[in-house]
Symmetry: C2
Subunit: 144 residues, 2 copies
Amino acid sequence: MNFMDKALMCAKKAEHLGEVPIGAVIVKDGKVIATGYNMREKSQDATKHAEIIAIKRACNKLKSWRLDDCDIYVTLKPCPMCAGAILNARIRCCYYGAKNLNDNDDLIEKIMDSTKLFNHKTKLTFMPNEQCNIILKQFFKQKR
Amino acid sequence: MNFMDKALMCAKKAEHLGEVPIGAVIVKDGKVIATGYNMREKSQDATKHAEIIAIKRACNKLKSWRLDDCDIYVTLKPCPMCAGAILNARIRCCYYGAKNLNDNDDLIEKIMDSTKLFNHKTKLTFMPNEQCNIILKQFFKQKR
C-alpha cells in the first residue's frame, strides 16, 4: 500500500463519522509517523483539518516544530490554512491526490512558494488518485 | 483598554516565556471571548500561533466551528496559516497592529479574499499600534 492509499484510509475514517472525507499521513525515512483525518464537525473546531491534526501529532512525536525531511500525503489539495501550516512546519514535499475544483489563481502554489515570508519552501506535487476524488464526490452526492 | 491593547497584553505573556511576542483576542458582541499568544517554542508545535490558539478556544467556548459575528485583533499581520484559519472559522474582521516587513505581494489579502475557495470573506484592517512593533523589535534585538 502506498502512502496516498494510507491517506485515503484516513479519509474513510472521516467518512464513517459523517465528516468531509479528507485524510493525511506524514512520512519520514519511508515510514508513516503521523496520520489525521478531518474532524471539523465532530469537534466543532474550525482548525481540525486532516493536515493540522497530522502535523500536531508529528511535532509531538518528534518533539520538534520542525518537521525536516518529512513529507505529507493528503487526499485533497490543502486549503490556505493547511498549506500555511505545512510551510510553517518546514515539511519538504506535499503530495495531494485530488484537485480542489474551487481552487484557482494558484493561491496554494503562491503560499507554498512564499519565500519572502519564510526561509523554507515546500514542493507541491499532484499525485492523481481517482479514489481520492470518488470518495469526495460520493460524500457530497449523499449530502444533497 | 481597547482590544488591540488586550492583544498586546497577550503578546507580553509570550515575551515572558521567550516566545516571539505575538498575541490575539477574539471579540463577540463587544466582549473578549478568547485569547491566545504564540507558544511555538514551548510546545514545539508548528501550529501553536496566537491566532490558532484563540480560534480553538473561541470554537470551544461557542461550541461551534463557525465564529460568526466575531472579530479577531492580532498584534502582527497573520501568516498564511493563521489567515486561512481566520477565514475557515468565518471570522468577520481581522484587525492587526503591526505589519510584517517580509510580507509583500499581498498574499494575506489574497487569502482573506479567496471567495472561490470559500463562501466567506474576512475584512482585513491595519490598525497601527506602535507598541505592537516595538515589542517585536526589542525581542529580535535581544536575540541577536
